[in-house]
């Protein structure tokens, strides 16, 4: 594989320069003006700390732990949230029954569930996963519900006159594909919220490993360069997850939408 450097520079030159410039300013300010590792570790300090956690292998256990917490949350939220949104979107009575409960629970900030997470699950991965779940479930339910509400009537009617009349078939063949863009958007929003909840849950001692835990732990040790490393790691992993998800959804699931204005 030959990489065309000229082309890459032409295409991404401005973006790359911008990042380099920002890092340079950061390094300069930290190193020459602030001159205090506690207040603002420099770019170089962060690089050194990063190499330390890579060498001693801490980065891998923490990343894996955090991803495990995140996975528990997203899987649970998906398994529960999508069917809930479907039932509410398709059956009026179900919506009337469930909507008040959801509307009462929804404004509770997910982090408020942390005490119960600990009481119910102890200091386990499940507890952290539960807090992530609490943050993710509502965006998924609500977007699935909205997607189902907005299924164009003409698709449902066209399906009916073509012999697709049972609710289960209409949901499977018409409503789910039609609502998929909305469901995917809900999952994306949920992943953003879930990622924040993850850090908070780990910070509050639900877990003794994980990226969020390390931020708090290193803060106690006044190792702010490490705090910054973990912050940046959280940012990058969050970005990667989002990019990967978006790529998958756009390329595989929503190919039929390409070209239309979203």
């Amino acid at each position: 594989m030959k990489i065309n450097f000229v082309k890459i520079i032409e295409e991404k030159g401005v973006e790359a320069l911008s990042i380099i410039f920002a890092v340079a300013i950061w390094q300069l300010v930290a190193d020459r003006i602030v001159q205090n590792k506690l207040l603002l570790p420099s770019f170089y300090d962060v690089l050194i700390s990063f190499s330390v956690i890579v060498k001693n292998g801490l980065i891998y256990t923490d990343m894996l732990t955090s991803l495990l917490h995140f996975s528990i949350g997203i899987v649970a939220a998906f398994i529960l949230g999508v069917p809930l949104g479907i039932v509410m979107g398709w059956f009026k009575t179900a919506n009337r029954a469930l909507d008040p409960i959801i509307e009462i629970l929804r404004p509770i900030p997910p982090l408020a569930w942390i005490p119960f997470a600990i009481v119910w699950f102890g200091l386990t991965h499940q507890a952290a996963g539960f807090v992530v779940f609490a943050g993710m479930i509502f965006p998924i339910v609500i977007n699935t519900y909205t997607g189902f509400k907005n299924v164009p009537r003409v698709y449902v009617e066209a399906a009916k006159v073509l012999g697709c009349t049972r609710n289960i078939d209409l949901i499977r063949f018409i409503a789910i594909p039609s609502a998929l863009p909305s469901i995917a958007a809900g999952i994306r929003i949920a992943m953003g919220v879930g990622w924040m909840c993850l850090v908070a849950a780990e910070m509050f001692g639900v877990s003794t490993t994980g990226l969020g835990y390390q931020i708090w732990h290193n803060y106690y040790l006044h190792r702010m360069d490490f705090v910054l490393v973990y912050m940046l790691l959280l940012g990058f992993i969050g970005l990667l997850i989002d990019r990967f998800f978006r790529y998958y959804v756009d390329e595989k699931l929503l190919r039929w939408k390409s070209g239309t204005v979203m």
Binding site: V154, V161, P177, R255, W256
Partner: protein
Amino acid sequence: MEVRDCDVKMGRLNIKNVSRIFTKKEDGSRTEALHDISFDVQDGEFICLLGPSGCGKTTLLRIIAGLETMTSGEITLSGVPITGPDPKRGMVFQQYSLFPWRTVIDNVTFGLEMQGIKKDEARRQVEKYLELVGLGQFKNSYPHELSGGMQQRAAIARAFANEPEILLMDEPFGALDAQTRNTLQDELLKIWEQKQVTFLFVTHSVDEAVFLSDRLIVMTSRPGRIKEIVKVELPRPRSRTSPEVNRLRDRVLKLLKEERFSR
């Protein structure tokens, strides 16, 4: 072969004293959309429903499709009363109704898949319908890649794939430009001659109705009643501009004009 085909399909439609009253939930006010409609459609006949907008012609079509209920009356297709949607009664909508998440061919196979036919087998079976509407090359395209006229062609193929006894068309060419519209009318007649399906075609274009139909049913403004049933005894293939056509068009336009003033 052709004769046997006719025998099997039996798209005979009988509409008897059909009325439809819509009741508004909020204030209980009632609007009569259809009043005591009765007419019969012979097997293989091409009927156009014509009337001022809001006269209930679409409502009537939707009742026949089983998507809407009637307040009173009875409709039978080949002697069987209509209770709900059924693949025997195909429908083409005015809005683009192709499923955007399915390719053209998978849209056309949809009806067969619902009957439990495997996708590969269904694909083989619908190939001829795609050829019929001239979309063979575009079978793997998604609807958003097609023009409006092509989308309606695909919708017609999709309706035909179920081999319905009657095809209900709700202003299917209403959103198309005049040129495309004429082409599609020609193609539709060609298909009709090949397939001998009964057609019930709602339109507000007098030209279209005169060009297409064996009989055209002119409806009054709300509540919709039958004003007159006009037999179109013009030989096919028809010209769009001959003196006979113009005379007939004139007559129908006058009927519609009366409705405008009697409001």
